[in-house]
Symmetry: C2
Subunit: 333 residues, 2 copies
């Protein structure tokens, strides 16, 4: 039955959203009411190259497709991107370079497809579906392998002129000095406070301990310690691991304070894999904001994302629904 | 003669705009066509206290008022402010504290009056009247006694939740370390790169040279050297002055790079008293943006303000015209 004029019933459309991460590809199928119908996660296996990863993205879409097909597909990926042409320009943690991913997906599935920065997609997911739904402005900061951010102003994603605003991982927190970042800069938030930065420090400390050049640490027992091991050993009282974690969280707090000072958000949602490591990450960001002399700090709520690992994929789907069909999940009753 | 319906002729309204600075109060009278009819500058004499400065602001308005009175008054002042209640919460360079300036002016002159952050007012002035008129987004960064900024997105000032967004002078460029800032923070852009920061370093260097504790510098010949003397002696080859200026401009460049990375503007207008000191300031900012690995850096134009010292006052007047009468100077033909 077709909905008659004036009934305002929406057609029962479904949308696919995919969050393309350096470690995993997380996809879901959502309907017009915002219900998640399917959810699939596969490993990215970035080392296999761009074509292999793209093939895995196509397969993931296949897994999610309902019988009648979907209305639109939204993809979230780390930038920089050209969201107008749906091209990934380059990424630190994925093998894509000038890769027209949205066009390839669109041609393959014959469905309108958009590509958005993953931080922006997650911000929009939290705006449309999360506990901070409808907040204005809503700022999202994610710390996992990398560091990203997104801003929703009055229900609209802030993209900037080139579509690459909010590159929070690549502001220098040390005035252009400090450790080199994969982007070419120095002292970037991502080089100091991300999961990969913590892992790099943990590896250095483990190597130094093993060769007798640094302090003893139980990190040395791991051949390739990561942020997970650093957090776990810090919690168990390992002084070297504690120092690594505390420094990284100090820098993450500085990054968050800079964002709040400049954007003056109603709510800061702090998410990402590092936050999963425990309340300690959010507590560090809260403390940094509380200590900030910025006038905006006092009025900014700080909350955890309510969508778990779905923020990015849900946001990508919601952006596709809004962009191609004018469907506004944040305003649904 | 009253304009008939459909004629679109605007009534011949006039607006007063005042830029309230730590050193001077700069006011002007502008008409509906955007022409500046009068322009008056008086010293702030901040040391005389809030009532004396307020009295001088009233007197300045009196000087600017045309015979028939004005339609609205716009005030730009350093923050943090509560622009909703028209209150200056506190400022580093002015004696106001929880001072309801807009209400006092409004009651005195019986004309709708608004108060806006001076960086935001200047950004709006450049958007409405300057060479970057209509740019989207337009980012304004000002370096003078202090450091401020403003952002215009799609013709609307970005204020943030509490109205205190864009406090660019108070982002820490040294991760919470470095010299103390009057705001209570450490390593703030204002404490490293403003005119007052340069003056502080110049005074320290002069004192060190005089007491034989530091390198010789011609700054020592001045009892109270400021940024003007530092720039002048740097240009003449004084190594100590050169070092002070070069460091400050390095930090100003870092501040600008952070803003461009986060806001991805179409145009960055770099203004303020320091820029008047010579092309060197703009060149330093241009170099920092060019060296930035941010994807947004390549697409951002960097220009000098076209309104000289009028940016803030013109912007305050334009904001009042827009807020109270819906008059949009940027769209006038």
């Amino acid at each position: 039955m077709t909905a008659g004029a004036g009934q305002r019933a929406e057609p029962n459309r479904t949308f696919v959203g995919i969050d393309i991460g350096g470690t995993k590809l997380h996809g879901l199928l959502v309907d017009s009411s915002g219900s998640v119908l399917r959810r699939v996660t596969v490993p990215t296996l970035a080392a296999e190259g761009s074509d292999a990863v793209a093939a895995r993205i196509y397969a993931l879409v296949e897994c999610l497709l309902p019988e009648g097909g979907v209305a639109a597909i939204g993809l979230g990926a780390p930038g920089p991107l050209d969201s107008k042409t749906g091209t990934i320009i380059r990424t630190e943690n994925l093998p894509f370079k000038d890769f027209p991913l949205a066009g390839l997906v669109e041609r393959r599935f014959k469905v309108p497809t958009l590509l958005e920065n993953d931080g922006s997609a997650a911000a929009f997911g939290e705006y449309a579906f999360g506990p901070a739904r409808g907040s204005d402005p809503l700022l999202y900061l994610t710390a996992s392998t990398g560091i990203g951010a997104g801003l929703v102003i009055g229900g609209t994603l802030y993209r900037g002129k080139s579509g690459n605003a909010l590159e929070a991982g690549h502001i220098s927190l040390m005035a252009g000095e400090g450790p080199a970042c994969a982007c070419g800069g120095r002292g970037c938030a991502e080089a100091l406070a991300s999961g990969s930065a913590i892992a790099a420090r943990a590896r250095e400390a483990a190597e130094a301990a093993r060769t007798g050049k640094g302090k003893a640490t139980r990190l040395a027992a791991f051949s390739d310690p990561g942020s997970k091991e650093a957090f776990a050993l810090a919690a168990e009282g390992d002084a070297v691991a504690e120092d690594i974690v505390a420094r990284a969280l100090h820098y993450l707090g500085c990054c968050a304070a800079t964002l709040v000072t400049l954007f003056d958000p109603e709510v800061l949602v702090i998410g990402g894999g590092l936050v999963k490591a425990g309340d300690r990450v959010r507590a560090a960001v809260e403390a940094a904001i509380a200590a900030s002399p910025a006038a905006s700090a006092g009025s900014c709520g700080i909350i955890a994302p309510g969508l778990g690992e779905d923020s990015g994929a849900l946001g990508a789907a919601a952006l596709a629904a809004k962009s191609f069909f004018g469907l506004d999940f944040a305003r649904r009753s």
